[in-house]
Subunit: 287 residues, 2 copies
Amino acid sequence: MPASPKQVTSSPETGTAHLNPQQTTRLAVIDDDSGFVTVLSKRTDAAGWQQRVLSSAIPPDELVAMKLNALLLDMEVLGDEAWEYLGRVCEALPDLAVVVCTGRSTVAQRVRALRLGVDDWIGKPCHPEEVMARIEAVSRRRRRRTRGAAAEAGPVVVGELEIRADQFQAFVGDGSLDLTRREFELLQLLADTKGQVLEREAIYQRVWGYAMAHGDRSVDVFIRKLRQKLEKRSPGWRYIHTHFGVGYRFDPEAVGGVAPELADEAVAGIDPQAENSQVVHRSFTAA
Amino acid sequence: MPASPKQVTSSPETGTAHLNPQQTTRLAVIDDDSGFVTVLSKRTDAAGWQQRVLSSAIPPDELVAMKLNALLLDMEVLGDEAWEYLGRVCEALPDLAVVVCTGRSTVAQRVRALRLGVDDWIGKPCHPEEVMARIEAVSRRRRRRTRGAAAEAGPVVVGELEIRADQFQAFVGDGSLDLTRREFELLQLLADTKGQVLEREAIYQRVWGYAMAHGDRSVDVFIRKLRQKLEKRSPGWRYIHTHFGVGYRFDPEAVGGVAPELADEAVAGIDPQAENSQVVHRSFTAA
DNA sequence: CCACCTGTGAAAATCCGGTGAACGCAGGGT
DNA sequence: ACCCTGCGTTCACCGGATTTTCACAGGTGG
């Protein structure tokens, strides 16, 4: 019970590329050219990649469930809906590395695909080694980006909080907030963008790794959990502010349990009932 | 007491129909193939990219100083030190998009370059459009991550107003106007089209995201709310002008005892432009 | 002076975000 | 193999914030 560090462990990498630095590549291949697939598989296995081969397109939702890092596909197996499918996939999983490897193509087709969100286009025939190198190159940026921030130097301190990326945990003094992975990732994102108002979609996108479905309230729920844990360890500080109709903003501010001059008001206002919650940020405009 | 928890506001889907002045691409090209460079430049200029052409390698330090987004280079002009140079550049500027565009090459060379940190490798001859599309594709990921869609450029200042897209809010000095989301979007649209007279239908279409029903007065109501909040924080300035029978026009002008001549000037400069000659609003101020 | 428009207030209808709780899944332990 | 527990997702409900809708008053133009 006492602050047992629990954290990480669990949960396989949530798909979010955001916080999975070190992780083997999880690749899905949509192609029916058995020769090509076989040869490629041999290499990827040797490289320790996890791979799944599909002989036809599958809905973006299922791709999400696979928690992939990269997707390699041949336009030919997609048939007529190829473009529309590419568009949907790239939109739903903006963080997924999408590489097309297909036969003959025109400049116009390649440009169209690239503009649609595809990360690279390779013509067949091609060497598996180059395919892998290109997939790595595409994945690299994301990894460097996210990892850079994470493995970063010292712990980040905001307000009374100490966020330790190396522990996937946050502390107040020596007490752990006991955040789950998702909670931690959310907190880290917020802290990284301190002061900015983030829309729910943007938060979801960056923490969960894929597009938020209309009406999903996960972000709200996690914000609540975070607030609870923050309040528990660091009462007297307000960290997460709600911007009605927009999203949330992280900005630590000591809230006054202390406002002597307004004693009466304050005393009256002291309602022990935690219930109040109703944060209501109202930042600027002191008025 | 419930006096006024107020905050920003909301608005569902709608969205964002605004144009986003995406940050321009800053590209450096290291190549001595004048024909290629010329053709490419024509395209990049047309696309609004900022570009610098170099006929030989320059030290990474100088590349840093140029604040580039992308670097396009031909292995041939680098000579013997090509590999070593690529390595240094990729290491020194991890966030720079590095694309090689060169003549014949072997799989081994391409793989080597990609593993070294190069983001893409294109063989010459190639179509400039594809080169651009690939550079965009490489830059895309980083851009998405670093700046959410909203954060774009700095705050916009008009009159006494400061419109901060990253906060979904407008300020006068340090005081927030306390705009709701819809109000903010309306203000943003107006400010973006400063000086133009917008018809109600057009405003509705762009802020609400769908066609305005006949007889809907929402736009009028929101204009009133905006005017109230603007007046409250910035008296002495007139921002929204009514064009009878047409719509509204945003144009900040100091009003009041202070600089009459300025006001005249401004009014005079306005271009009626409405097809109906009749218009000619003349904002009833002066008196 | 007569149609039209636009400015206003306020009531009515919606939308939003905070909550508490139920579900389903997966890992660990027995 | 089975049960227990932690975690992430989904729902339904509720009070409060925001948007729409209305009816009327004041202005504008011809």
